[in-house]
Symmetry: C4
Subunit: 239 residues, 4 copies
């Protein structure tokens, strides 16, 4: 049995949530599960339809992008995942155990509009305390150099330049492309990907109802975030 | 067997309608069932996913917010429910046996836009005779004092100041947050929560089709409400 | 066994299509099946949830509105159905064997906006050759006199005044209220109700994409309608 | 056993994907599978509901429009399919093994607005490198001459006049009508039909979020298309 069996199963289960939650058509999404200790992540193979996917198809890749285990090609977005684990997870010490990329419909529409998703309400504030960031387009040079790797760099640079903490802001739109999200586990990454799509819908509808809607008051943002994520969080059950 | 067995089962059944009717993702909703005689209500435990929820997980709480039965933490919104039962149900004598809170998508969008939902048609008038009220943001002081309890007070105050009768208007949007609804039973509360989401959609689409659409004529509003709720109501079967 | 067994089963089957096709929440819709020879129609009982509905619950009513068979109250909209069968079916000789009324979301939005649904494309033209008509509000006097019966009269009058043939235009929006549709059978009425909702969506989206979209060219309208409904129709299989 | 058994089964399987993927209500869509060697295609019979469709109902037609096998009338759109196979597949040598026509909701809305779908993001660029083309209305003369055949001619002429390569652009909107898409197989044609509907939704939402959204930068378009379709494509598994 593979020493990465658990990691591969976590990745498999999380990938199967993509079609279950309607986050992508066909094969347009992928989730990886990261084990910081062994420095590898387990990711969906490229182009395999979810109904045919099996846990043993999951590909294990190290932080140099080398395949450690698996017979199939890993997701074409593998290098983006790799950069995020390397930069956010290892270098910056963020608690990232999983990453999701999808083409969920309304999150993509915001990314295509090159607009961050404004923080209009508590559904959003329950998860992050600022607008969902949206990067500019990747530059021509970066696209030609190494597209997927540079997409990771673009996200990392955007967070650094805008002083965004990846432990607190667990989702991003890549301009012209679509959403990435992450979390402490692959399962939590999928959760954040679903949150992002729902928040994207609510914000779009909010603007349709009131085109000059105001961002939520700061003190409500903070309260909602803190009751779920602060040192005295009281949402959910004690662990 | 618990003396609150029936109340807990009513609460459980009503909570399970939230995912069945698509009124919230993950754990973002809760229903309580109230027994006015014993002065307690049975509410969903905090953060428990619906597929894992069992009737015995439901928490019984009294009108001071103390847990009467149950091992789990009750919903973080428990104090909002408590205030509504205490003020609307006991003090004002309204016939409230259940309350629902969700983050249903389009109702949240109206709440995020801080706009009441205009009464445009008979689908709305079949249930309430006025716009769905929307409170302003809760004040900074109130948020810091006791967020969930003050959310309940905000709703009660908004109804008093605007002379809204909670027996007639069984739903409200909390500004920047989302919908609460109630009814004679927990089951009816869920029904009113679903009505609110549907009416929210219809009103948004109405404005997209005609941005200056007019509210429904008063005499049609009254007719539709009265045929379902008036002293000579003739909708449905005799009980 | 009831002499109306077949008619009741047709009505039952057609009513069960309402939830199956998402045309109404809860009990907000009804279908009737009409037998012109015996001058009766079989309609859903009022307020009975679809999952509990049984063929024997269907109520048989004559063209004076008297219950011929059945223990339950018929739909509160029974008199609207009755007027349409009487006026369109018997007096004008239209071929109407079934009527549906729902609160389908986008059709209601058009009705709430008091706007006919423009004929923008062939999906619409495959079924009717003009905009989906929308009546004005029912007058105060008519509402007070006999709401449901006068709703039927309003539709009939709107068709007469605008020279609309109910054999050709099998659907209508009642202003501020919602859609009614009919057909040669109850099954066909449901089909037309589903067509109306789909056409309502497409037209709303068309205006969102191009706010001054033009109606479809007449010669394409005629071609599409005629290939399905004209004397030389060639859509479908020979019967 | 029919010598066209495989072709008919491919057509059947592909047709059954139309309701499974929500691409059309009732019978409003059809797929054909083409065998270039024998010069015939297998197409859905006209007006047969998907739940009743069986592989043996599929009709085999040659490139003159003559029925080679099958007892039912072929789709009323058969001549449009025929022209596309004849012109794109045989004369121009494009690699077309299947065609789909549906009335998917948002693609129809763009067709009704007579607007090509702008290329706003990578979801679109993963499949085609330009806007989804939209033909003008078919002329009155052409409609009267031979509607379905001339619809095919309209598409072919629009591609020629605008120098669009049907091997690269595998989808089109017929103005005022709706979408057609094709692919190397019938299965791939359905895939492209589903892509078109999803891209249509994303583009509509993009314009709702930002009414003057810019088309995606050319160098990103090319990168995304090429990583899936170029000579060095690296998406998916090696075959």
């Amino acid at each position: 049995m593979s020493k990465y069996q658990t990691l591969k199963e976590q990745s498999y289960e999380a990938n199967m949530e993509i079609p279950a939650r309607g986050l992508a058509l066909y094969t347009w999404g992928n989730v990886s599960a990261f084990d910081k200790n062994s420095g590898v992540f387990a990711i969906k193979p490229s182009g395999v339809p979810y109904p045919e996917l099996k846990p043993e198809d999951i590909v294990v890749v190290d932080l140099e992008g080398k395949i450690v285990e698996g017979k199939l090609n890993p997701s074409s977005d593998t290098n983006t995942h790799m950069v995020l684990y390397r930069e956010f997870g290892v270098k910056q010490g963020a608690d990232i155990g999983g990453i999701i990329h999808t083409h969920s419909t309304v999150a993509c529409a915001w990314a295509q509009a090159l607009k961050p998703i404004p923080l209009f309400g508590t559904t959003h504030a329950d998860h992050i305390q600022v607008s969902v960031p949206c990067t500019p387009y990747l530059s021509k040079e970066a696209v030609e150099r190494d597209y997927e790797l540079e997409t990771g760099n673009l996200i990392v640079r955007h967070f650094l330049e805008n002083k965004i903490n990846p432990d607190e802001v667990t989702m991003v739109l890549v301009g012209g492309h679509g959403p990435f999200a992450w979390g402490k586990t692959a399962e939590k990454a999928v959760y954040n990907g679903a949150v992002l799509e729902e928040v994207a819908k609510m914000a779009m509808y909010t603007l349709q109802i009131k085109s000059d809607a105001s961002p939520l008051a700061d003190y409500i943002v903070n309260k909602h975030y803190m009751r779920k994520h602060g040192p005295n969080a009281y949402y959910g059950q004690k662990k």
